[in-house]
């Protein structure tokens, strides 16, 4: 982005203050203002990542145009939209699990553990509670939120009392939860005589309510959208949301200003864990109505959610938008493998590249501040 101006326009002396850009030509001014729009950085990161992905494919002797076309058409064909929307919901939910702590500058990378614990809780409540459907379905979702929320909240005292960063404790706790759930499904609560490690199918009355005649998207999607609305309201309209953002911007200032950082972290991690737990519950209570060993983790919703949350900077209104991108990548990745013969792992590559490019955007900011202070 060079903003060279003809000599006659350089009327400003070199030591002019930052506001001196007003003397520049209107076109440049509009461009500069446009470049400061908050959406520029994520969009730029995505475009650059797609270009890097194309370069990787070209180097591997694959056709990027064909691959990207397959991704988009595979994810957005009318026939697959139902499935795509359900995945978008799961990725949004996992993005919430990452975005809520991100608002206060913490990283929750233990989504997998929180997700499977929620799935386990829902499978147990919906599978075994002898209650009528209208009671058991919400109970299973709430139970999953409570159990996963408690599990997520563990990381807060570990950080405040023992100084173990949340990013580390979530990552160390997660495989433990995943292993315990896997063990239970395999040896304790699994369906007897089945070749796959899975729980028995949930009774008809304990399955998530259908949404019209969609086969994948169900009321669970509405629950996740409701969670996102709650996050937006709390973030932008409440004292807690303000405290979250203050601590995220400057932890010392927040503590100085009387924010109880420990309590805030506890709440944020509980909410994050609960969001992941609800996603786990909805997956289990959707078709095929079972908890299958490994099925909650293998699609990679957790890190697609982390990537979406990072790309959105944790902003509640941007999360659903960035989640669309990673949903298209996840769902279209399989189609790309089938029709363009490009390994689906390219989706993970692009996720990683987007995050790296996003992190390196500070270079742009530096250039900008150098320019405006020059």
């Amino acid at each position: 982005m060079s903003t060279t101006t003809p000599p006659d326009a350089q009327a400003t002396p070199p030591e002019a203050p930052a506001g001196a850009t007003r003397a520049a030509r209107p076109a440049t001014r509009i461009l500069n203002t446009a470049l400061r729009h908050p959406a520029v950085v994520p969009i730029g990161a995505v475009v650059l990542a797609l270009l890097i992905g194309a370069a990787i494919m070209l180097a591997a002797g694959l056709d990027p145009i064909v691959a990207y076309t397959a991704v988009v058409s595979g994810a957005l064909e009318p026939g697959t939209l139902d499935y795509t929307f359900s995945v978008w919901g799961f990725i949004c939910g996992m993005a919430l699990a990452a975005a809520i702590p991100l608002r206060m500058g913490e990283f929750n990378l233990g989504g997998n553990g929180q997700l499977v614990l929620g799935g386990l809780t829902a499978a147990l409540i919906a599978g075994y509670a002898p209650l009528p459907g209208p009671i058991v379905i919400p109970l299973a979702v709430i139970g999953a939120a409570v159990v996963s929320g408690a599990f997520g909240a563990l990381s807060a005292p570990l950080a405040t009392r023992f100084g173990i960063p949340i990013i580390i404790s979530t990552l160390l706790l997660s495989p433990v939860a995943v292993a315990i759930v896997s063990y239970l499904v395999r040896f304790q609560i699994g369906e007897a005589g089945s070749a796959v490690a899975q729980t028995p199918r949930l009774p008809e009355g304990a399955r998530m309510w259908a949404l019209g005649d969609f086969s994948y998207s169900n009321v669970g999607l509405l629950i996740i959208i409701a969670m996102m609305i709650v996050f937006w309201v709390v973030d932008s309209r409440s004292a807690v949301g303000y405290e979250l953002r203050v601590v995220g911007a400057n932890r010392r200032f927040g503590a100085y200003g009387g924010v109880r950082v420990g309590r805030l972290a506890l709440g944020a991690m509980a909410a994050a864990g609960a969001a992941a737990g609800v996603v786990g519950a909805i997956i289990v209570m959707s078709s095929p109505y079972r908890l299958i060993d490994g099925a909650l983790i293998s699609p990679g919703y957790t890190f697609a959610g982390v990537a979406a949350a990072l790309l959105a900077g944790g902003r509640p209104l941007l999360v659903p938008v960035t989640a669309i991108l990673f949903t298209v990548l996840q769902v279209g990745g399989a189609a790309m493998e089938r029709s363009a013969d490009v390994p689906r792992q390219l989706s993970d590559v692009l996720q990683g590249v987007v995050i790296v490019v996003l992190a390196l955007r500070v270079v742009l900011d530096q250039r900008r501040s150098e320019r405006s202070s020059a």
Binding site: L158, I168, A255, L346, D348
Partner: protein, 303 residues
Amino acid sequence: MQLFELSFVAAVLLAATPILYAALAGALSAQAGVFNIALEGQMLWGAFAAVAGSYYTGSAWGGVLVALVSTALFAVILAVGSARWKADPIIIAIGTNLLALGLTGFLLSVLFDVSGSFAPRGLQGLPKMAFLSDIPVIGPIFAGQTVLVPLAFVVIVAAGFWLKRTPAGLRLRGVGEHPDAATALGVNVASYQTWTTIVGGALCGVAGAQLALGNVTVFTENMTAGRGWIAVAAVMLVAGRPFWLPVACLGFGAAEALGFRLQGIGAPQQLTDAAPYAITLVVLVLTRIGFARRNRSRTLIDS
């Protein structure tokens, strides 16, 4: 009985070695004031590069060299991004970890047309030190190990002395402890941090090579399976002091080896797999009891 004991020691060493190399990389970064959580992805890349290198050169040492060089290059993203451009090392590391996971799977498919795992016939693993087998005690422990196992301890001791006893090592610690003071004394902080991170990448490459060509002779997707995070925890445990690293890493190695033993007598694999993480976390907590009292500010630490 004695044979069992010695073979257990051998298993502990085997499990601990990759974590040792990666944790040394993390400890050097910590000394230079960089919170390096990219170890997992770098080790995974190193494992893939080692197998690919061994496959193409026909020599295991060729694989180690390819792993060392290419992982150092892979670490340049983190090094330059965080030290020179002042980007957030945590976000870059989350990105490079995902990138390593995706790229290794992608290349596995593109280069070798397999998915999941790659172990072609004739893939050269690192040679074991069989010539030691006649020596009592040491024989049973080291005969089945690669040279990289004892070398890990040599490298760690050397790095520890370098940090403690040489001007450059002293400057590196100064950079980590007080970057402004180091700058005032004319030490180039960004340069020290950049090169430390790149050397750390090379060490993670060796860790991956030992994992894929020493412990086994195969590359499987996501074969590091969290060892890089255990290395990060080990660095926190010893507060970045290299001389203590062997103690921490051998502890994790023992947890992993014990898990294998327990599996042998019928314990479910899921639970023994989870043990190292649970033990790591418990030990971390135990070593930090009183942290809140020492840091009366009661805020989360600035990680």
